[in-house]
Symmetry: D2
């Protein structure tokens, strides 16, 4: 879609596309991981993981929409939002990592959170 | 992620995965198309398109989350939501189609909306 | 805000405002109830309640945005979305009702879900 | 609802409640202002305002959900998200202010954005 956008892309194209893609994946992965946690027999041990996955899904979904938009961006807004997204992905990935050995969905979610955190940080680093 | 979910999938696996994938694509495509419309010189002609793309993005994003979840689903809720999503994709696709000849992002958005509408209808047809 | 909108309101004003208000309340109440369920010592008994509250929060938040918008609405979309919202509020309210005797947040959530369901049904009944 | 939550509130109660309330109002006000902009005869002049209102609605809606949740919060996440929300409210309020003299919905939106920005900053200042 971005190829057909009438306005020029103001940020680094590759880093922007990677940030969009990772937010897409992380928003869905965290929604799925929170739900899988709820379905586990040891749900009582997974409460913090559910909580942080819900926060991460909300943050990634909002960030995805904001970085998709190319018309009249405010770069201060874009930077603040992707930096907050990186913080959320870090916290969620750290929590999922504690459960990665016994829950495969957490192991997969860690990978997605780490990639999204990095993509957000890489894009944020270009906005100064 | 769904492979590692502790609960069994209650719906047809292939149709469910397709519905999730299409909601992912359509939520992002409609966010991008609404934004591209805003960036067009003829934005005054694109107002209805922006409006319906925003509605479609909101509906697809909510539907995506609900169909991703596999723990303790209420199938009446799932059916109602994917049927509403199909109605929204139809209306958005019909509006984008009017602009497809002169705006490539609208042409692409039509395709995504049609696929998402079909995926929602196909999945809904299995819930009776 | 609606007083200052440049376009006329196409639906019954009082029913529309009530639907917006109830979606605002229900989206927040369900987010809070899902989170309170997670904090309960008997979280294992609350899994279905968390699930349906998350679905209801997503549906109410999307519905709220769509009914707030007054520019170029597609009434078929509005009707489909508020009908799906009513179905979701019904299912969520029914589940919360099972826990209302021992969890005050569920008792409050039932009330909000019932009001939102009714407001959506009343508005939908005017769109034929 | 928060009165009946099983977990203690970790942040200042009054500032937290104000932040939740302001995010509720600002998410809806910005959705409405973006839509009202689209309905104006001078929509071509309002493109940046639509864009920033959409960003602000997305940020406020995500922030509202995160600050509503009281179970197992990560305070670093809460702080990052409300700080990003304050930045977005500031940018959106500044843009709406340019149109406040001729569009009443923008004038109202400025007020809501300023209050939400302040509520986010006040709450963030308590998390160190």
């Amino acid at each position: 879609m971005l190829e057909s956008h009438p306005r020029p892309i103001t940020l680094d194209r590759d880093l922007l596309l990677r940030c969009i893609d990772e937010c897409v994946d992380c928003g869905s992965a965290c929604t799925s991981c929170a739900d899988a946690d709820l379905g586990e027999p040891d749900v009582g041990e997974m409460v913090r993981c559910v909580r942080l996955c819900l926060d991460c899904a909300d943050t990634c979904d909002a960030t995805r929409r904001i970085v998709i938009r190319q018309t009249e961006p405010d770069l201060g807004v874009v930077r603040a939002v992707i930096e907050a997204c990186a913080v959320t992905c870090r916290a969620c990935g750290d929590e999922c990592e504690k459960h990665a050995a016994h829950h495969e969905h957490c192991r997969l979610c860690v990978e997605v959170c780490r990639r999204c955190e990095q993509a957000c940080r890489d894009l944020a680093a270009t906005i100064r």
